[in-house]
């Protein structure tokens, strides 16, 4: 069977239109954005931390990345990681068929499975918030020094 290629007319702008998909669609958008942010950080982080071989520790006291603006950036990375990781865990579970309910006959009025998945999203976000709260507490400890 031939595979047809379709033009993605909307491009990345299509990410923004959640329509009637509910909050999970916006979780999808945020998952992509946080993933790209963490990837960008990883690429830079790999280069910066590799410099320690030459005795260059840019993140320690007196180093370039020890400035308050980068501390804020560090917290942003923790935030992005917390959301991406726990939402990603939810996506893996959904992909494997967990927490999506049993298949039912499509009889009118139709029921959406999105409502069945909602508790998993709430649980994932609560876990992310707990992780973020601990990270925020540490961030404030660091700022208070």
């Amino acid at each position: 069977m031939a595979i047809h290629r379709y033009d993605n007319r909307l491009g990345v702008w299509g990410w923004l239109g959640g329509g009637r998909w509910g909050i999970e669609r916006y979780a999808y958008l945020l998952h992509r954005l946080t993933g790209l942010a963490v990837l960008l950080y990883l690429l830079m982080h790999t280069v910066v931390t590799s410099l320690r071989v030459k005795g260059i520790y840019l993140w320690t006291e007196g180093g370039f990345f020890h400035q308050p603006i980068f501390r804020l950036g560090e917290f942003a990375v923790v935030t992005a990681f917390a959301f991406h990781a726990f939402n990603g865990l939810r996506l893996v579970l959904v992909e494997l068929g967990f927490a999506v309910g049993k298949p039912i006959e499509p009889i009118y009025p139709y029921k959406t499975s999105v409502g069945v998945q909602r508790p998993l999203l709430i649980a994932a976000m609560l876990l992310a918030l707990v992780f973020l709260a601990v990270g925020g507490y540490n961030f404030m400890l660091g700022a208070a020094k």
Partner: protein
């Protein structure tokens, strides 16, 4: 597992490994104030002394290499997926895939070399 499905499965598996490894990495590096783990040389978990202490342990050197490999695969494969959604021309898709592989392998090489070299330097008690 045809048409690249296996790469998607690896991508998901890499995500679960990342959740554990990167989660631990975040706890050690960014939550040192309340969860003081693997940082015996002072309160600051990311100080030079604590970084060198971790570098001297082979399990940390190996975990950095594993974390980097898994992270690069998961991240760059995701980026490729996003870019492929834009339905680029086949030649462009191929060039982009090759570029991402080069970036991934290059950074993995740099990071792995650095993790191992830092381990050797830390064992020798030097600053590099």
């Amino acid at each position: 597992m045809r048409n690249g499905t296996k790469y998607w499965t690896w991508h998901m598996a890499a995500g679960v490994v990342l959740l554990l490894l990167l989660g631990l990495h975040m706890v050690i590096m960014h939550m040192g104030g309340s969860v003081h783990l693997f940082a015996p040389r002072g309160a600051d978990a990311v100080s030079e002394a604590n970084s060198q202490w971790r570098d001297s342990k082979i399990c940390f050197a190996l975990s950095y290499i594993l974390l980097l490999g898994v992270g690069l695969y998961h991240g760059l494969y995701s980026l490729r997926t996003i870019l492929l959604e834009l339905t680029l021309k086949p030649a462009m898709e191929k060039a982009m895939t090759i570029l991402l592989v080069i970036v991934g392998v290059g950074l993995f090489g740099l990071g792995s070399w650095a993790a191992w070299a830092a381990h050797v330097v830390a064992l020798a008690g030097g600053k590099g």
